[in-house]
């Protein structure tokens, strides 16, 4: 697809859309937009080799779960284009980043803005925790830790078929607390699966709060290297560092880019909510109004007129 916007503009648009949505709905995954905006913008706007979307710009309603009877069933992968040999695939492993991922699809012209209006509405496919049938999703990743393993299997299979496309995984750092993540890395290394590439949002936050207060995970990079991955550490808000990292040679190993990020980036007033950043729900109308004013000022936009909705 043609890049219609700069990646910086896409990243800004992601924060703006998630902010607007969260203001109107009195809460949302704001900190994930702050930490992930540049990473998802870079993936979709530059790095991923994707075809034109195959699904309607305005998402269809929920069409039922997979079953032998549901002949019309399809996943939301069509928003990333067709599953053809040369194209890349992307799994969003932390499925609660869905709001941020949907905002990205809109910013890169793969979904209509109306899609975000359907977020978390009954009967909608644009679910709060990205499901297989949600826009841009291909597999269920709502339980953390399964994304990299699934990608490894798909990548091994694609390589066996001689397909050139890569399998990308967008990961979150909390996932390293799950044992399966380490099983997946060792399996990639053992089977030399080097068409798997991951970028991990290392924002050091998880549901209960700061990771070092919930379960210290130590030196993620060193541990991953020891399990057999090629690891590159970057600033998760600097596009040039991600661009360079993706060029790293990782023959016979999976590439994992650790993107150190800030959960307040672009919205510094979220620091007032630390350490409860996982899902920001405003505690009072006063807090909501103040956040609206402060974050809008930080983003350089007008405050949201959420009373209209």
């Amino acid at each position: 697809m043609q890049n219609r916007k700069s990646t910086e503009d896409v990243a800004f648009g992601i924060r703006r859309r998630v902010f607007e949505h969260s203001m109107r709905n009195n809460g949302g995954y704001l900190s994930q937009a702050c930490s992930a905006a540049e990473q998802l913008a870079w993936l979709y706007n530059e790095e991923l080799n994707l075809g034109e979307p195959t699904l309607p710009m305005i998402p269809k309603p929920f069409g039922g779960v997979p079953s032998a009877q549901n002949k019309e069933y399809h996943t939301g992968a069509g928003y990333n284009g067709p599953a053809e040999p040369d194209y890349d695939r992307l799994f969003i492993a932390p499925a609660h980043y869905a709001l941020v991922a949907y905002a990205t699809l809109i910013e890169v012209g793969r979904m209509a803005p109306e899609g975000l209006e359907m977020f978390n509405k009954d009967g909608s496919s644009v679910e709060m925790i990205g499901a297989e049938h949600s826009p841009g999703m291909e597999v269920h990743n709502g339980t953390l830790g399964i994304g990299l393993s699934t990608a490894a299997g798909l990548a091994w299979g694609r390589k066996r078929r001689g397909e050139k496309g890569n399998v990308w995984v967008y990961m979150s750092d909390g996932e390293v607390q799950e044992g399966q993540t380490w099983e997946a890395i060792q399996a990639c290394a053992h089977h030399k699966i080097d068409n798997v590439k991951a970028i991990m949002d290392v924002n050091r936050q998880q549901c209960d709060g700061a990771m070092n207060s919930v379960m210290e995970v130590g030196d993620i990079a060193q541990k991953m290297e020891n399990f057999g991955a090629k690891v590159v550490k970057v600033d998760g808000h600097k596009l040039d560092e991600m661009r360079d990292a993706a060029k790293t040679s990782h023959r016979g190993k999976p590439l994992i880019i650790l993107a150190n990020s800030s959960p307040f980036r672009g919205m510094p007033s979220l620091q007032l909510r630390f350490p409860r950043l996982h899902y920001v729900r405003f505690k009072s109308e006063r807090e909501r109004a103040e956040m609206n004013k402060d974050i809008a000022r930080s983003l350089g936009i007008e405050p949201i007129d959420y009373q209209k909705h």
Binding site: E132, V139, T143, S149, A184
Partner: protein, 334 residues
């Protein structure tokens, strides 16, 4: 005497895999225990070792399914669903991947004790949407399990017998079709897996005692055609007995209970199997006797169901071993 077949899975899998290039052989460090070590050595390019890491193996297999492969996962049945249950749900069952879960050592067929004995696997799998469940009861069914499993449009869990396996049947598994081993009129006995051989051992003694047996063997547990079963339930004057190598909750005993209750059939049901208990480690004959899964347990169950004392001893059953199946009864001729 019944024919014993050595390692029927080993040959059957190799034949099936070589005929189907999209079939992959996955193992989780129990390669020789699951009779695929020769396959690994002869066909390494179709074999994937995933180590002692079942959670990764199940999601990895889901990814292989997404790439259009049909992975056969080999390990002990219990390791396919207890630890990696979440991965089974999210990566295999929900998206209906064509993953073939080959569960060896079903129920008490292992001396490995609680950690190795899949005693509630059928119950777990029956409650998973999109899952198909097959169970092998003899060498012919083991020889045909790969083809049967691979015909399923979605995930399938199979209880597979290994080692020396008796040959009871002449025809391969037909998915969805129960075997009618005898068509008597007094009571209905429903078995699957290794308990079918036990029921066959009890049959002639029961008939000598004047009980006319209708005996069905199930190799397809889910999905299940209840109409055919209802006809059999209606065809007997008395009640129904199930005998399973599994806890009596959620397996074929529960399956029969559901059919009887759903259809308002007023017949008694005796469910034999592990009665809300774990087993411990021991030999198969010992465990089958200790936990009441063998032929004598079935005889006692018939006594309970009919209220008759049958005066059948264990010796009567041993002498009646499986000759009856192939020669006089001609199980497949029915």
């Amino acid at each position: 005497m019944v024919e014993m077949v050595a390692r029927p899975y080993e040959r059957a899998f190799e034949k099936h895999a070589l005929e189907n290039p999209d079939v992959l052989c996955l193992s989780a460090d129990l390669t020789s225990s699951c009779e695929i070590d020769k396959f690994r050595d002869k066909h390494p390019d179709q074999f994937l070792s995933l180590g002692m890491a079942e959670q990764n193996m199940l999601s990895f297999a889901g990814g292989l399914g997404l790439a259009g492969y049909r992975p056969f996962l080999h390990t002990f049945g219990v390791f396919l669903y207890r630890r990696p249950y979440d991965q089974l749900m999210a990566s295999i069952a929900y998206p209906r991947r064509k993953v073939r879960l080959m569960g060896f050592l079903p129920g008490i067929t292992t001396p490995g004790g609680m950690t190795h004995q899949a005693i509630e696997d059928i119950s777990v799998m029956r409650s998973i949407p999109n899952m198909t469940i097959l169970e092998t009861g003899d060498a012919t069914e083991v020889e045909s399990i790969c083809e049967a499993a691979d015909s399923i449009d979605g995930p399938v869990y199979c209880r597979v017998l290994r080692g020396n396996v008796p040959r009871l049947f002449d025809t391969p598994i037909e998915v969805g079709k129960m075997r009618e081993l005898s068509l008597g009129e007094d009571i209905l006995i429903v078995t699957s897996g290794i308990t079918t051989e036990e029921a066959l051992r009890a049959k002639s003694a029961l008939e000598s005692a004047g009980i006319s047996i209708r005996h069905l063997h199930l190799n397809t547990i889910k999905p299940f055609d209840e109409e055919a079963m209802l006809d059999h339930i209606h065809s007997v004057k008395g009640g129904v007995i199930t005998l399973e190598n599994h806890v009596t909750e959620g397996g074929i005993g529960s399956l029969l209970a559901e059919i009887i209750a759903d259809n308002g059939v007023g017949k008694k049901l005796v469910r034999l199997g592990l009665k809300d208990t774990y087993a411990h480690g021991g030999s198969r004959p010992y465990l089958m006797n200790y936990y009441g899964l063998d032929a004598i347990a079935l005889v006692k169950g018939v006594e309970r169901l009919t209220g008759q004392v049958l005066n059948i001893s264990e010796e009567d059953l041993t002498s009646a071993r499986v000759e009856a199946v192939h020669s006089t009864v001609k199980a497949e001729g029915l």
